[in-house]
Symmetry: C2
Subunit: 158 residues, 2 copies
């Protein structure tokens, strides 16, 4: 059995760890964590009771948020691996932002079930990755997503 890989968000530079979705420093945020599972990326989350849409079902905006950070995290993992690195090896981790987010909601997502997002890297270049994902609630795929994530521009980090 292999060790589970480490979440990329734990290795973002401290200045870039304030994201409401996945920043380890954001006390109010969701703290999404994204890691490799072989060639796929995985983010899991149990929505809180307030994350409802219509009672009994998860808020679509929360699913979009989960997909958003999962995808920027997946892009960071992929760019990092492309450079020969894995989380924990000490090299600076790229920080990505979302250029395009597309979510298809296939069926209502039940509350009270741990969600799992699984992603694969559809395209990658030096500064961009396209991440295609499925969101599952238990055995049921409830949404699919395609996200274009790019390295954070100088205007954000400079």
């Amino acid at each position: 059995m292999t060790e589970p890989s480490l979440p990329i968000q734990h290795y973002y530079h401290d200045d870039f760890s304030w994201c409401y979705g996945c920043g380890t420093n954001n006390a109010s945020g969701h703290h999404f964590e994204t890691r490799w599972d072989g060639e796929e990326t995985v983010t899991e989350y149990l929505p809180r009771p307030e994350h409802t849409a219509i009672p009994g079902f998860v808020y679509g905006g929360l699913l979009a948020s989960l997909v958003d950070c999962h995808s920027t995290g997946s892009a960071a993992l992929a760019l990092y691996r492309q450079e020969g690195h894995e989380p924990g090896d000490g090299a600076p981790v790229p920080r990505c932002v979302t250029a395009s987010l597309h979510v298809e909601y296939l069926k209502p997502t039940p509350m009270g079930v741990r969600l799992q997002v699984r992603g694969r890297i559809e395209e990658i270049s030096v500064k961009k990755a396209v991440v295609v994902s499925q969101v599952a609630a238990g055995e049921q795929v409830v949404a699919t997503a395609r996200v274009v994530a790019v390295r954070a521009p100088q205007t954000m980090t400079g």
Copy 2:
């Protein structure tokens, strides 16, 4: 000068007013409000300090959430108007959910600026509307969106 129109979210059935994004009954939520402005729909929101991505810029998941409720609210307004009704006239208001959400992030969205989402109804049928929107931070358009919103299915409301 015409009276500003009333937000549709104030007229959702009480059982369907728990949405994390726009439910008037959700104490933890964002309380987005969507109203007509002529033939366009408008939702405004000032992100809270914790809704950050990289410091100084708004979290993309928050923008997606804003677009999500703006669009389901716009669809509800449009279906309601198609039936001859306006918010406040007492007829039951349709409740919509998101089938497809697509957001293009054009540039980083600065924190500390009230955001305005303006939508128009691109297509409408008896049970569905396609809402096309722009998100502006002051004079600057920071994102565009296209959302397919459908009447909440019986499995959610029955």
